[in-house]
């Protein structure tokens, strides 16, 4: 049983999309913490 191209494409594109939003989420969280003076 081999992975089809459709599944391969789905796997790679979903991973890249999720990885792309990760830094945005972290930066937003940092701004919120900084605003509330809760970074440390």
């Amino acid at each position: 049983m081999f992975m089809t191209y459709a599944w391969f494409e789905f796997l790679v594109y979903s991973a890249v999309s999720l990885a792309a939003i990760a830094p945005i989420i972290l930066l937003i969280l940092a701004v919120i913490d900084w605003h509330k003076e809760q970074l440390w």
């Binding site: 081999f2 790679v12 792309a20 990760a22 830094p23 940092a30 970074l39």
Partner: protein, 470 residues
């Protein structure tokens, strides 16, 4: 193929600039460290954003940037999926982090927990396992620094390995855990932007369909979902990842350092954000068949593919990403292992009457000594990164169930926990020797679970949780 795409001058310039930047940042962050709690645990007051980023950055390491492509090249799609499931370790540790902070609000290391919960013998066995793992990981990170430089530039292995160790030792020494966590945040952003850009350019330049077609034609077993060794690897890697996180002081020290009620959501967030990263870094290795790249050793496949796709500018970019990934883990491991050496080995075995001011100094000496010892072990470059790392799987997977049962069930006693860790490790090493690295953690975890279950059936200890908070 040993194509060099980055000149030695460029590589040297990046190492020096980043080195100066991280060390200066470390000094700036550490200038107000007054107590051992400030130095070892960042004042026990780390917020959600930094907490999530540091957990994620520490778990994105040479393993993710160099070994994930290597395993994809060897095991195909299961290689990268199996690697991404190591995120389960972070996700499952989330509720444990909350429990740890609640049970031990003044704790420093995972060794504190094992000693108070299971007694002296189990603590000694645990320390051996934990220090073997920490050294194995430290050496694999140091070696990765050397391999990166030799793969991407004209500089040699010895220089790269020495430079990354020197820089991380310096800023960890100057800033303690605060420097480690703050640099982790910056490094996470660099790494994430880097790996996404590399993947995006790779897909645009070669095309996902071309990559798939070439793998299907030249090495179809990499797309085989019933590839036996790859399936074994997948399950092995899940238990290995869980064992690595559950037992290691790198994660326990973070559970102690994060603010109240932050640990659970921070580890959950970091696990979910980490999940796609090995697939993003790993799938590029499959482009080797489209680009006719044949690395001299499998662990060089990632950097060579990225450099081939992106050219000279890309090589600079890849270099910065992997350098950040290595530093983000190496600093954490240096800090956490020096805590173990200071609080467990020095305070626990050598000088029981040492006060916190004295331990503060010992902690700094431990960081330097650990860095030097790692450097010595890295010089011979005895194993590939994957082999070295998976060898430690036999050790760490044996600690999973003693720690889980120890945190949640009063009944598990110290003798059972000690036997579970010792017999689990032994069976894992036998599996490693007679079958292969991809079963070491599986064997270790299964035997350890069996021993714990037998112990829970025949013993009925009623442990007093209050003991842990004293």
């Amino acid at each position: 193929m040993t194509e060099v795409t980055l000149s030695s001058q460029w590589a040297l310039l990046i190492v020096v600039l980043f080195g100066i930047a991280w060390i200066a940042f470390g000094w700036w962050l550490g200038r107000n460290n007054r107590t051992i709690d400030d130095f070892m645990l960042a004042g026990r007051n780390v917020g959600f954003a930094f907490a999530s980023a540091t957990a994620m950055a520490t778990w994105i390491t040479s393993n993710t940037t160099l070994v994930a492509p290597q395993l994809t090249y060897q095991f195909g799609v299961w290689g990268m999926i199996g690697y991404s499931l190591a995120a389960l370790g972070l996700i499952l540790f989330a509720p444990m982090a909350k429990r740890i902070k609640a049970l031990m609000p003044h704790g420093y290391t995972c060794g504190d927990f094992i000693r108070k919960r299971f007694g002296f013998i189990a603590w000694l066995i645990f320390l051996v396992i934990s220090l073997c793992y920490a050294l194995g990981w430290l050496v694999s990170l140091g070696m990765a620094g050397g391999i990166l430089l030799s793969a991407l530039s004209g500089l040699n292995y010895f220089f790269g390995m020495s430079a990354i160790l020197f820089i991380c030792v310096c800023y960890t020494l100057l800033g303690g855990l605060k420097a480690v966590i703050a640099t982790d945040f910056v490094q996470t952003i660099i790494i994430l932007i880097g790996v996404v850009l590399i993947a995006y350019i790779g897909i645009s330049e070669i095309g996902l369909e071309t990559i798939y077609d070439n793998v299907e034609e030249k090495s179809p077993q990499l797309l085989n979902l019933l590839f036996p060794a790859a399936i074994m690897f997948l399950f092995n890697n899940i238990f290995f990842g869980i064992g690595e996180i559950f037992h290691s002081n790198v994660w326990w020290s973070r559970a102690f350092a994060f603010k109240e009620n932050i640990g659970k959501k921070a580890f959950l967030m970091s696990g979910l954000l980490w999940l796609p990263i090995p697939i993003v870094t790993g799938f590029a290795a499959l482009a080797a068949f489209s680009l006719d790249v044949f690395p001299p050793s499998a662990d060089m496949i990632g950097p060579l593919i990225a450099a081939k796709i992106l050219g000279k500018v890309g090589a600079v970019f890849v270099f910065i990403v992997v350098f950040s990934a290595l530093a983000s883990s190496l600093d954490s491991l240096l800090a956490a292992t020096s805590d173990l050496l200071t609080k467990d080995i020095y305070k626990g075995l050598i000088n029981k009457s040492a006060d916190n001011a004295h331990l503060f100094k010992v902690s700094k000496i431990s960081i330097v000594a650990l860095g030097f010892f790692t450097w010595l072990l890295c010089i011979p470059k005895v194993a590939t990164l994957g082999a070295l790392l998976n060898f430690t799987g036999a050790f760490v997977a044996s600690t999973i169930f003693p720690i889980v049962f120890g945190l949640y069930y009063r009944r598990l006693d110290g003798v059972t926990a000690a036997f579970a860790m010792a017999l689990g490790t032994l069976s894992g090493l036998l599996g490693f020797g007679f079958i292969g690295f991809y079963v070491a953690a599986l064997f270790s975890c299964a035997i350890s679970l069996l021993v714990c279950l037998i112990g829970l059936m025949i013993k009925n200890q009623k442990f007093d949780w209050q003991t842990l908070s004293e």
